[in-house]
């Protein structure tokens, strides 16, 4: 199978859906000729024109609001938010408007839009261009949240998002844009709420999102060398969450670590760990562990930034302790 980058995968998904459905359009800062700073959208304006690939002023709440109104009245906008950190700027339009309109109208109005943005630290971009804010939006009923972990997922999830009749937020890991993965030439979609078992194992389950999937896979390699068999699961969408697949795995392995690049406190990892505790408690041989980013603003200095995010070695070390029955935290 051919291999393409995550960036090309996103581009292909959007182009295919724009060809299929004339109501799909893109808007955001420097999405047209510039193709975004990450060049993810290069070439789209040449094919679809400036009517459907719209460069906006630097007005995030404004163009997010425009997308909500366009979506409510029959279009399918894709909003490009240059950095995930800017999600704070669009919170009212996203969480008070888009997320609630279907419900507040008793099901009469739909808001079929996609907000594509990014996440991920260790790019030396400091505190306002490095955050992973998926927990913020996952907390709000009415929004769906997708977190592709490779080019394959990025394409299939994007196509599903564009066809969904709800507001969907997609967080792409900005460090993975140039990472290649096998992506079929023929069309495919990845349904929401279906986790992917990346690697089967019997001793411990590593549940990881987006950028952390490759961290978990590398940790599994390290553990395998020591005779520990780790299962790696990528939920692919946080909302909806494929709880059944996660529970089934944990009932089998009886141990789990949940890894996500958002801040550890009050995060995605806490939510998933808590569901495992509630629903698989009697199958557990060890506490479910959370591994998120440290609860500090992302620092600039490489020496500091690198210690804020989970690493394969860190995940493997924790997995080793859980499997050995060691207590991670002193009582």
């Amino acid at each position: 199978m051919r291999e393409i980058t995550l960036s090309q995968a996103v581009n292909e998904a959007i182009a295919e859906e724009m060809r299929r459905d004339p109501t799909v359009f893109l808007l955001g800062e420097d999405v047209a000729e510039a193709g975004t700073p990450f060049k993810v959208l290069s070439g789209l304006v040449e094919e679809f024109g400036t009517q459907r690939v719209i460069d906006t002023p630097i007005s995030e709440p404004g163009f997010m609001g425009l997308a909500v109104g366009a979506a409510m009245t029959g279009a399918r906008p894709i909003v490009d938010l240059m950095f995930g950190d800017f999600i704070f700027l669009v919170m009212d339009q996203l969480c008070n408007q888009a997320a609630k309109i279907h419900y507040m109208s008793g099901g009469k109005l739909n808001v079929p839009l996609v907000l594509r943005t990014n996440m991920g630290a260790t790019r030396r971009s400091a505190a306002q261009h490095s955050q992973s804010l998926q927990a913020l939006v996952a907390h709000i009923p009415g929004l769906k949240v997708a977190m592709p972990s490779s080019a394959y997922e990025a394409k299939g999830l994007m196509k599903t998002a564009i066809r969904d009749n709800n507001p969907v937020v997609i967080f792409e890991d900005k460090l993975m844009y140039q990472d290649k993965a096998p992506v079929p030439e023929e069309e495919y979609l990845i349904p929401f709420g279906v986790a992917n078992i990346k690697r089967e194992g019997t001793d411990i389950t590593l549940i990881a999102t987006s950028s952390m999937v490759q961290v978990a896979e590398k940790a599994a390699e390290l553990l395998a060398a020591e005779g520990i068999s780790a299962e790696v699961i990528d939920p692919r969408t946080i909302v909806p969450l494929d709880e059944a697949t996660l529970l089934e795995s944990v009932r089998k392995t009886s141990r789990a670590i949940v890894i996500d690049e958002g801040h550890q406190s009050y995060g995605i990892t806490a939510e998933i760990a808590s569901r495992l505790n509630e629903k698989a408690f009697y199958h557990l041989d060890a506490p479910v562990l959370r591994m998120g980013a440290m609860d500090v603003p992302v620092p600039f200095s490489p020496a500091l930034e690198d210690v804020t995010v989970p690493t394969p070695e860190g995940v493997a070390a924790n997995a080793r302790k859980l499997c050995a029955g060691e207590l991670i935290h002193a009582a």
Binding site: S59, M104, G107
Partner: protein, 326 residues
């Protein structure tokens, strides 16, 4: 007011009726609140009827509006039905939003009302986005964005007016300046001129007497026709007055506005009294015909209130319906 054009009698009478329907709706809503039959809180549109009716009578069902927390008037003016509105205010299953929205979120998709909004200025992006959709999809409908003077302090307005002007979108920004931003005089929250702000983006702006339904309607008709030809956006500041407080519980308001001021607006500038006198002077309707129309509207409202009071609440099983669309 300008002289009547004979062929427009039916339009004039419908405008009058719609204004009376709004006032009557609000009188009943206020009573429901005061008698503790209505949950939550609400914001009365009474006094501003000529704005909603003058504008909405220049629109078709395909044209969209976005509304505000003070939104009952826009909803009625855009063609909504009393029974479904009162049901919504009381949280009943037959309400426009199945009781999930209430007074501050009434939406009536069938008549192009994209909904009231409880965030001041929250619908400016939605209205402008609706206009962007019309342009992109080659549709000729126009969107009117209603908002108050208080909302002119929100930054979103300037972001979306900039884009609407850049892209010549078919949207009309209708600023209902009722003199008060909640409990504060507008002059204390708005520096400079409100229309000049729109003009700074190259948007043609008008300031008009919002108590004169004919003037509002004539201007809106012209601007809507020009929007359909691609000459939008436009901005209208409508000088008006809210008879009640900011919300129904805002009773003692002498600290921010005087009783004399309220009396002056009610007695000398009331949009319904003014238009009624004009209809009689012009020979379009007799006093008896007008009284009969008023009585009919009152009867409709009373029946709708009784219907809504007796109507069932949604089944609790509906609580998690409509979080996500299928």
């Amino acid at each position: 007011m300008s002289p009547a054009k004979k062929t427009n009698s039916a339009d004039y009478l419908r405008m009058y009726r719609q204004m009376v329907r709004i006032r009557t709706f609000e009188d009943n809503a206020n009573q429901l609140y005061l008698s503790a039959k209505m949950p939550g809180l609400t914001h009365m549109y009474s006094g501003e009827e000529a704005v909603a009716v003058g504008i909405c009578e220049a629109l078709t069902d395909d044209d969209r509006i976005t509304s505000t927390h003070r939104g009952h008037g826009h909803c009625v003016a855009k063609g909504a039905d009393f029974k479904q509105m009162f049901c919504e205010l009381l949280g009943k299953a037959e309400g426009y939003c199945r009781g999930k929205g209430g007074s501050m979120h009434i939406a009536d998709q069938s008549h192009g009302n994209l909904g009231a909004n409880a965030i001041v200025g929250g619908s400016m992006g939605i209205a402008t986005g609706s206009a962007l959709r019309a342009k992109l999809m080659g549709q000729d409908d126009v969107t009117v964005c209603f908002f108050g003077d208080g909302a002119t302090a929100q930054g979103l307005l300037y972001e979306v007016m900039n884009m609407a002007a850049l892209w010549k979108l078919p949207v009309i920004y209708a600023c209902e300046n009722n003199g008060y931003s909640e409990y504060t005089k507008t002059e204390e929250i708005a520096a400079g001129s409100i229309t000049a702000r729109a003009e700074a983006f190259g948007i043609e702006a008008h300031r008009i007497d919002g108590q004169d339904v004919l003037a509002v309607n004539e201007l809106t008709q012209k601007l809507v026709a020009r929007c359909r030809k691609g000459e939008g956006p436009f901005f209208i500041e409508l000088e008006t007055y809210r008879y009640h407080g900011h919300h129904v519980g805002d009773i003692n308001r002498a600290y921010y506005r005087s009783k004399d001021e309220e009396k002056d607006w009610k007695e000398n500038r009331d949009p319904i009294i003014r238009f009624r006198s004009w209809l009689v002077e012009q020979g379009i309707a007799s006093e008896e015909e007008i009284e009969a129309m008023n009585a009919e509207v009152e009867k409709d409202a009373a029946e709708a209130v009784a219907y809504a009071e007796a109507a069932p609440y949604p089944d609790v099983s509906e609580v998690d319906m409509h979080v996500y669309a299928a």
